[in-house]
């Protein structure tokens, strides 16, 4: 390529004024017009900071010290302001709901044009045209509450494309989307790049999901430095991902388990390009070698729902004839697309809402008469965002709060709080203010503040949302430990890896009805359930199909069992 780079970092170092050390070190990176680049890295690696440098939020909104240079379109960003940059770089932020500033999709798309003082008539035309490019033309009058996550993201995309930007920057585009919508999002980004030839930069830690479509190069950031700048095939063949704590695609892990030598020659970067002839033999042999792990949970029932029906308005049933039986000590995931009734189900269990019909049994006893407060001693619910639960400045007080409300005496409170903090690995922080904790630690505090009430069942809403692989593993292994103490755990989730790795059983809701209650490996290989619940089949299943293994679900289950066994060893 003899073109000039459209984005060029030269010996670029950046330090936030609020930090003691630079977040980015000696970045040298050239991105050329029309390229599609993926930037991956664990949390804290500096990948978001790199994005802020490109779109001008640094130094416009976040002050800090810059050395070296960064040029966009051949001009140093230091000489441009954020408004000039915003006409060259369009940024789609990760939370497509939070950044939706308009009261309708049309208004939101028009936002940048309004700020440019464009008269109304040409503005409407341009909005209609851009909405057409992302398939939103029929929904211009919809409010954000009427749009799905995917539609909000399309709106955001249109909102930055109203200016004819050269570069589209996506900051964790998959973070808030369910698997099926995420897949479509990657396809839309790809199509737009093909049609318009724009330069695309995607910042994301979910490597496998982005590699659903081709990318030209993957840049790996770790600890503020670029540690790799490779194509997908070379990257997954290397040790870099494992070293940085980024999850490699699951099918690559399977290949490695089967002792297949993963090398660039077999094109392992994408499941679609993977060359199978040479790998087939090893995989089939590995699959045969796995002893089927039969572990039936025969504990007595702890939570049973029988024919539960509920509606908010008395007209449309949000839940209809839901029935399932969870045994003591199980770890179950509750899945389904947004609006399928998952959170309503959890509200019924906690007693926040009351079912119109049907019963809920705890250890065989109908709990209809129990108040919210009494239910909390049986079933504890943890909200997704820890900031929504934390109301005290000190960890100790926060965890003690529920006990104080119950008038437990201070000496017993102390004993119970200390015990639960120990379980949660928070003992060293007992005297700390909560504001000094990381996101993952805050999450633990909220779990501790529920566990201290000694519930027998814990419901968690997306416990690992937005977490990178290392933090995800931390939180999940912690929940496994809690589970081993005898607490039954229900996880409301979109994360298919989580389902596969941690919950043997999945309950699937769709449009308020229970459509499946079976092994996670079966759910993620059943096309019908996948479609109804907005899931995506796992790449392990694609791999099984590619090499001609008939029983895909068995193959997936074998993989899980095998992995659990090496982890426990």
């Amino acid at each position: 390529m003899d073109m000039n780079p459209i984005i060029e970092f030269k010996d670029f170092t950046y330090q936030y004024f609020s930090q003691a050390h630079p977040t980015l070190h000696d970045i040298n990176l050239a991105i050329y017009p029309g390229e599609k680049i993926l930037i991956v890295g664990p949390s804290g690696s500096g990948k978001s900071t790199l994005g802020y440098c490109i779109n001008g939020l640094i130094p416009f909104a976040y002050k800090g010290e810059i050395t070296g240079s960064l040029a966009v379109n051949g001009r140093a960003t230091a000489d441009q302001n954020i408004f000039e940059l915003s006409k060259q770089v369009g940024t789609v932020l990760q939370d497509s709901d939070g950044q939706f500033v308009g009261l309708t999709a049309g208004e939101d798309i028009a936002f940048a044009l309004e700020n440019e003082n464009l008269p109304v008539e040409p503005m409407r035309d341009r909005v209609r045209r851009v909405a057409g490019m992302v398939g939103m033309e029929a929904l211009l009058k919809s409010s954000p509450f009427e749009l799905s996550g995917g539609q909000k993201q399309r709106t955001s995309l249109a909102g930055v494309m109203v200016h004819d930007v050269d570069i589209l920057l996506f900051d964790e585009p998959l973070a808030n989307l369910d698997p099926a919508t995420g897949k479509v999002a990657i396809e839309i980004i790809d199509d737009i790049q093909r049609k318009s030839g724009k330069t695309i930069v995607i910042i994301e830690h979910r490597l496998e999901d982005v590699l659903h479509r081709h990318v030209d190069r993957v840049i790996v950031l770790d600890d503020g430095r670029i540690v790799a700048d490779l194509n997908a095939h070379d990257l997954v063949s290397s040790q870099i991902l494992t070293n940085c704590g980024i999850r490699e695609p699951l099918y690559v892990t399977a290949l490695k388990y089967a002792d297949v030598k993963v090398k660039p020659e077999i094109d392992p970067g994408y499941i679609t390009t993977l060359e199978c002839e040479s790998t087939k033999k090893d995989l089939v042999a590995w699959q045969k070698s796995i002893v089927v792990d039969e572990r039936e949970n025969t504990n007595p029932s702890i939570l049973r729902m029988a024919d539960v029906t509920f509606s908010y308005d008395g007209e449309r049933n949000v839940l209809e004839d839901i029935g399932f039986d969870i045994r003591e000590g199980e770890m179950v995931s509750l899945v389904g697309k947004n609006g399928a009734g998952k959170s309503t189900l959890s509200k019924l269990l906690c007693g926040f809402e009351k079912q119109d019909r049907g019963q809920i049994f705890f250890r065989g006893e109908d709990i209809a008469y129990k108040t919210i407060k009494e239910r909390a001693e049986i079933i504890g619910a943890v909200l997704q965002n820890p900031n929504q639960m934390i109301s005290k400045p000190m960890i100790y007080d926060e965890v003690a709060l529920g006990l104080r409300f119950r008038g437990v005496d201070e000496s017993e409170i102390q004993e119970r709080v200390e015990k639960v903090l120990k379980v949660c690995g928070l003992s060293p922080f007992i005297e700390w203010p909560i504001s000094a904790l990381s996101y993952g630690q805050k999450k633990r505090v909220t779990i501790a503040s529920i566990l201290v009430l000694d519930p027998k069942i814990l419901i968690l809403d997306e416990p690992t949302a937005g977490q990178d692989y290392r933090h995800y593993t931390d939180i999940m292994e912690f929940l496994v430990d809690v589970n081993k103490l005898g607490v039954t755990i229900i996880l409301i989730t979109h994360d298919m890896h989580l389902m596969l790795e941690y919950t043997p059983r999945a309950i699937v809701l769709s449009e308020g009805k229970l459509i499946a209650d079976t092994d996670a490996s079966v759910v993620l290989t059943d096309a019908e359930i996948i479609r109804k619940a907005n899931l995506k089949e796992t790449s392990l299943y694609n791999l099984a199909q590619k090499i001609g293994i008939e029983d895909g679900a068995r193959f997936v289950q074998n993989f899980i069992d095998y992995e659990r066994r090496i982890k426990n060893r």
């Binding site: 416009f60 950044q99 936002f111 926040f352 900031n387 639960m389 409300f405 119950r406």
Partner: protein, 279 residues
């Protein structure tokens, strides 16, 4: 979401009033309000009130939408009437310059015809502004509301803040509900059984998490707005603003005429802001 919350429950109904631009409605609202605020002639006020109630009917606003507001207004008006009588029972005579006693009450409290007229007039003054305000709020799309504020000279940052509040209010409300339920599960007592001194403390247990979780959102919104050029120019245009049609001009003309007529009545017929039949 079970409750599709809309502040002032703006409905997308299609009536002649809904079709007017937000700016028109704001101007008409201001003209008519000034008319009733200026005039102390009960005949004029009743006419304007009848007019605004007619408009209320045309815009198909249902009583259920405004019930709560009406109840508050009635309570306010009655309290206001009682208190003004006790504090200044002679206000009516002072303003009108005559004193016609129609009943003697206790001590210095005499009931005068002037006072009755004055208070009834004042009551209807307030009462006639209310339907006007409700028509404006209930038939104007919230973002048009912001754009019309901006076009009558309100700084666009402030006008946009109104629009943003409307945008994020339902989110905040949902968060509030979630947090409140989660805290109740931990044992927080929000019922009236809790002692009064604890209620404030208990409210904090919901408000603090609400503030902290909203702070994250504010950073995000302000980044998103910066990245799309908000604040770049001294002015901005509005996607929702509409071109003035003949109906708009007609509506403004009608309300301007009503306003001028009110002034004319004061100047030429009453020779003051007050109407005094007792002279």
């Amino acid at each position: 979401m079970n409750t599709k919350f809309k502040l002032f429950s703006y409905d997308r109904v299609d009536t002649a009033i809904h079709r007017l631009s937000g700016l028109t409605k704001l101007i008409c609202f201001l003209f008519l309000s000034f008319a009733v605020i200026y005039s102390y002639d009960i005949r004029v006020i009743l006419l304007v009130m009848a007019f605004s109630i007619a408009i209320l009917m045309v815009s198909k606003i249902k009583f259920s939408q405004i019930k709560l507001m009406v109840v508050y207004v009635v309570i306010f008006l009655v309290t206001n009437a009682v208190i003004s009588f006790f504090f200044s029972p002679e206000m009516g005579s002072e303003l009108l310059g005559t004193r016609t006693v129609i009943g003697e009450l206790y001590g210095r409290y005499d009931l005068t015809a002037e006072q009755v007229l004055y208070q009834v007039t004042k009551l209807f003054k307030y009462a006639s502004v209310i339907p006007l305000g409700m028509i404006f709020l209930l038939t104007t799309n919230p973002s048009e509301f912001a754009s019309s504020l901006n076009s009558v000279g309100v700084n666009y940052n402030a006008a946009y803040a109104v629009s943003l509040t409307l945008r994020y209010f339902p989110d905040m409300q949902r968060d509030y509900r979630d947090i409140s339920l989660a805290q109740q599960a931990r044992g927080l007592d929000l019922s009236h059984k809790a002692p009064f001194k604890d209620r404030f403390k208990n409210a904090l247990l919901i408000i603090i998490p609400l503030i902290f979780s909203s702070l994250d959102r504010i950073e995000l919104i302000s980044n998103a707005m910066d990245l799309r050029g908000f604040g770049k120019n001294k002015t901005r245009t509005w996607y929702t603003s509409r071109k003035f049609t003949r109906q708009d001009y007609t509506a403004i003309l009608i309300s301007a005429l009503i306003f001028l007529a009110t002034i004319a009545v004061s100047i030429f017929i009453n020779q003051s802001r007050f109407f005094n039949p007792f002279k």
